[in-house]
Symmetry: D2
Subunit: 351 residues, 4 copies
Amino acid sequence: MKTIKAGLVGITGYAGMELARLLAGHPQMRLVMACSRAESGKRLGQFYPFLEGLPGSDVVISVFEAAEAARCCDVVFLAVPAGTAMEMAHDLLHAGVKVVDFSADFRLRDAATYEEWYKGTHSQRALLSQAVYGLPEIYAAEAARASLIANPGCYPSSVILGLYAALRHRLIQTDGIVVDAKSGTSGAGRKAAVPTLFCEVADTFRAYGLPGHRHTPEIEQELSLLAGQELRVSFNPHLVPMNRGILSTIYTKLADPAMTLDQVHDIFCQTWQDSPWVRVLPKGALPETRFVRGSMFCDIGLVVDSRTGRLTILAAIDNLCRGASGQALANANLMCGLPVQTGLEHLAPLA
Amino acid sequence: MKTIKAGLVGITGYAGMELARLLAGHPQMRLVMACSRAESGKRLGQFYPFLEGLPGSDVVISVFEAAEAARCCDVVFLAVPAGTAMEMAHDLLHAGVKVVDFSADFRLRDAATYEEWYKGTHSQRALLSQAVYGLPEIYAAEAARASLIANPGCYPSSVILGLYAALRHRLIQTDGIVVDAKSGTSGAGRKAAVPTLFCEVADTFRAYGLPGHRHTPEIEQELSLLAGQELRVSFNPHLVPMNRGILSTIYTKLADPAMTLDQVHDIFCQTWQDSPWVRVLPKGALPETRFVRGSMFCDIGLVVDSRTGRLTILAAIDNLCRGASGQALANANLMCGLPVQTGLEHLAPLA
Amino acid sequence: MKTIKAGLVGITGYAGMELARLLAGHPQMRLVMACSRAESGKRLGQFYPFLEGLPGSDVVISVFEAAEAARCCDVVFLAVPAGTAMEMAHDLLHAGVKVVDFSADFRLRDAATYEEWYKGTHSQRALLSQAVYGLPEIYAAEAARASLIANPGCYPSSVILGLYAALRHRLIQTDGIVVDAKSGTSGAGRKAAVPTLFCEVADTFRAYGLPGHRHTPEIEQELSLLAGQELRVSFNPHLVPMNRGILSTIYTKLADPAMTLDQVHDIFCQTWQDSPWVRVLPKGALPETRFVRGSMFCDIGLVVDSRTGRLTILAAIDNLCRGASGQALANANLMCGLPVQTGLEHLAPLA
Amino acid sequence: MKTIKAGLVGITGYAGMELARLLAGHPQMRLVMACSRAESGKRLGQFYPFLEGLPGSDVVISVFEAAEAARCCDVVFLAVPAGTAMEMAHDLLHAGVKVVDFSADFRLRDAATYEEWYKGTHSQRALLSQAVYGLPEIYAAEAARASLIANPGCYPSSVILGLYAALRHRLIQTDGIVVDAKSGTSGAGRKAAVPTLFCEVADTFRAYGLPGHRHTPEIEQELSLLAGQELRVSFNPHLVPMNRGILSTIYTKLADPAMTLDQVHDIFCQTWQDSPWVRVLPKGALPETRFVRGSMFCDIGLVVDSRTGRLTILAAIDNLCRGASGQALANANLMCGLPVQTGLEHLAPLA
């Protein structure tokens, strides 16, 4: 059984921290390179005290160089900001290394849309067509053949999985979809900033980035593909005084207002019956972020309100695991020929 | 300057605790009676350690009797469950005491609607027509003449204040309104129950009571009156791991999709210019629950999204102060001939 | 590879929840029986939504009977209150089943001490001598030969591991030890009670149970054995507004006030060099509960204050994993002939 | 009734925020100047959304100049870092303005001790003798005659009030005192920094700054004065995942081990009977930070443990109000000839 050698560029953030946790328990993939300009020279276990004594803790943090990465890694995870990842990905691919990019740089198939929402030039347009949008439930086959994965955003992962069955089976109207999304604070990243200090987040609640959060075009791209027509959503993120987790409450109008919860629930259950990570909850049950904490699960709850003709879909994920590093690892598994769930299958949620 | 004597029935909950806090600082109203069957015989300062040494702490908790209440009180606050309050209110009114009822017993003008949503018989239908729905910005004149106040629910207070300007000025379509409301956990009350234990709420997020939360008909009643037509809303509450505060994110469709944020903002500012407790935030700013903590303020933020033709209104209040006890006190002020803001005017938010 | 069949009595609490999580990822032990009088008849996955889809979720909750347990289980975990466990343990042992008891019933070697601190009669005194106090770093050999494990208390686990090296190597005076311990709220259990409601714990801090917390005699028993003389400690627990984790700050006086941090640190490192779960932090570093969350680690930080001649030892554990269910599983591994770390080795902390 | 004009230098921190809250409700003192280099030019209500619509919100933030301050203010509060305050204080005093300094610059009577612990030169040694240590329960008379107040540190306020009665009445041994102090995160200030990000503080617990926190010499100075002899304490701060509040658990040894809780409690009650802000809790009760939130109260709980001959004193305060801005305001009241409790008397804790 061959061991796959993995590199991680951008270790100082929460996604990097989470990937280090997951790789420490992976039976066939090993962290051999960890890059950060600011922390270069430290042992990883020194920087991440939780990792001490576990596989990966002895890696010495280095400054990223594509050639060196190509020398020692089979796959590299890029946990760096949008705009920074695209050049690194190019160089790594050129050197023959597989890449999983956590940023938005390769998520939007249309470079112009990227440039409009991310306010920057896309310097690697030629790579866009070969990047695979790494939501395993939809694109596992493509990911298995890919060299470059655009790892989905955290919010889009919850929204696309939440709406998938409803759009595929034309249960809902495609206009007027509203997403009210709530995320734990790790989603805001790990950089020093007053608005995410403990005392600015604890015991308070707020929306942010309205209107026009950058995950909007990514959500619309994938939902439009599912619906077979262009659609627009109103996407509205909120910040929750908790560490991890996303709950997306998705408001839709039923195509047939007479449709019952029984009918909707049956279709969702059938759609997801072979997807162990998507759990359609029993009728009447609503998801909670704690029940997916630290795992790859996406829990889906369904509400049919006959008074208003609405189907409300609630989808809960762990933003760091399913919404970032766990999903990245699933994609790397696929790219490297391993079963998608390797190293992720015994990950019982830390409720 | 006459001192008004106040009684409080139902002291063990968070609303009772908050009213005791507010009365301790009120210059003209004094707590003289506090009732609870379970805690009868204790000094109030013993039961509420935070109150020790402040006005009201020496009141000895007693079992409620209407005749005794009439003997010693000018006004009685009923912080007891729906269904329990109606008889107490009847007896107190009959004995000549003014009543502020925290429960839903007198909020719905139509007894049949009450009985449908609250699953119980309304035994005091004759009182419904004399009860005033105590939202001071709308019903101050009526409250000043009333003997019985139906103190508004916490969620409805935020939603009605949030939508008031938009409905009065016909800025929005009346169908398709969706309210995604988030409340601190004090809204769930202070009774021993597993779902509100610390470990069941901290570091998690969930919706609850979908569809069909009991505040729905109260919201619809008041919004329909404002709109001049029957309307229905989809009302969806969520539980936030924080103590206090409600943020209601209210999704509407603009009547005129070309309307700008400047125009909407101007109308909101004009509408509320003489209401010191309603603060329309500057364009681009969004409200946070901490900035209203412990106060009567309702902070309103406005978002116009031309991509989807939507006006999104965000309204933040303190669920215990504006959403319960502070508003009750404002109503008692009005009933007793005091300026509405007495004892509430120097209440700077504890940010 | 034989699969070991495990039963769990008392599933409704946090320790039961944690054991279910850990067993779901154990390669050689399987949950086959789960008992609770109150929840009897439900599938375990229905009661614990986080477990759905994982091994163990299909077990149907039943009412405990020793004979039935003996029929289907190799080992039974008793997560029931002190006083209740002793009879169950007797019956199970009599029927030939191995027992790991989470309660205090078999922790104190002296029945009189038990009866003094736990205010009840000990009906199974004969079993006390065969019970092994299950702290694997000290009693692994005894545990491997045992049929009955007294699983250590959460606080004692942190204090005994924290002080072990100092007492064994006579670095400190044995009188005047003060333990200021802080625990997450899961330590208070999962029963409906006002003092552990979210709003009674969040954004506040308090001590509880002073003086005379029941973990005191357990701590003193084991420390006295280590010191080779009777000693008394002042043990003082506090409640932290967090879910999981214990930090014990242990104040001692150096036997030789001239001893340096270097010397103390060396001795601690040597003592624990072969114990992968005990991590002595680098000099100057202090432990945090998040870095052990969900794991078996005990992180130890050392402070020498020459101004006051004190050695302060800080020990952090996860109260539910190391302090209860993970340690129970380690003990079950030992009793069943598995390596102690089976099913626990890939448990990277969820930082 | 003359209105006193107050200035505040350093508005961006939590102490500045708290002082603005308190001044908004003060009947005789008005904020007329607010200084911050970084935020200069903004209205205060724009910078502090919670203040909008309240007294003080219309002040435009300016850059500090002593001459301008002298022109418009009777008293100036300096909420700036240690080392920065001393020159400002000098210039203000020279210009005839009263000063309340929140920093440590004038707390230590001995300049050499300051320079040792604060690693900087004291440029205003001549002012040390005229500065009054502003703990009103001890130094109210001196404060009333002072022009310069050294406002006490948050931790020292809790420790000195906690130990006052025990030292004055020689109830305890003066050696071996250990303080295990726990503070909410606002105590760490409001500057952008990774260690106080929400995700680095929530759901975790840690000690910090051991050994040698800078509040140690301040505590020792005042306790030595009370005891009439030099004494040393072991002072050990911890960070709590909450916003506000300090609980200091103070471990002492009884001078007479036979002394009872009744005796100790009587002496504490007598000592504090005329101090409305110090509340000695009933025997058996322990303080909680929430019961003093937003107020000037110091709640004291007493534990006598005859097994170990110890008196443990627990003292709870609000670190921002009693531990900083409320106490500063009390001192300003005294300096300006107002009753000490003006503007603070109706401050019922926001439990």
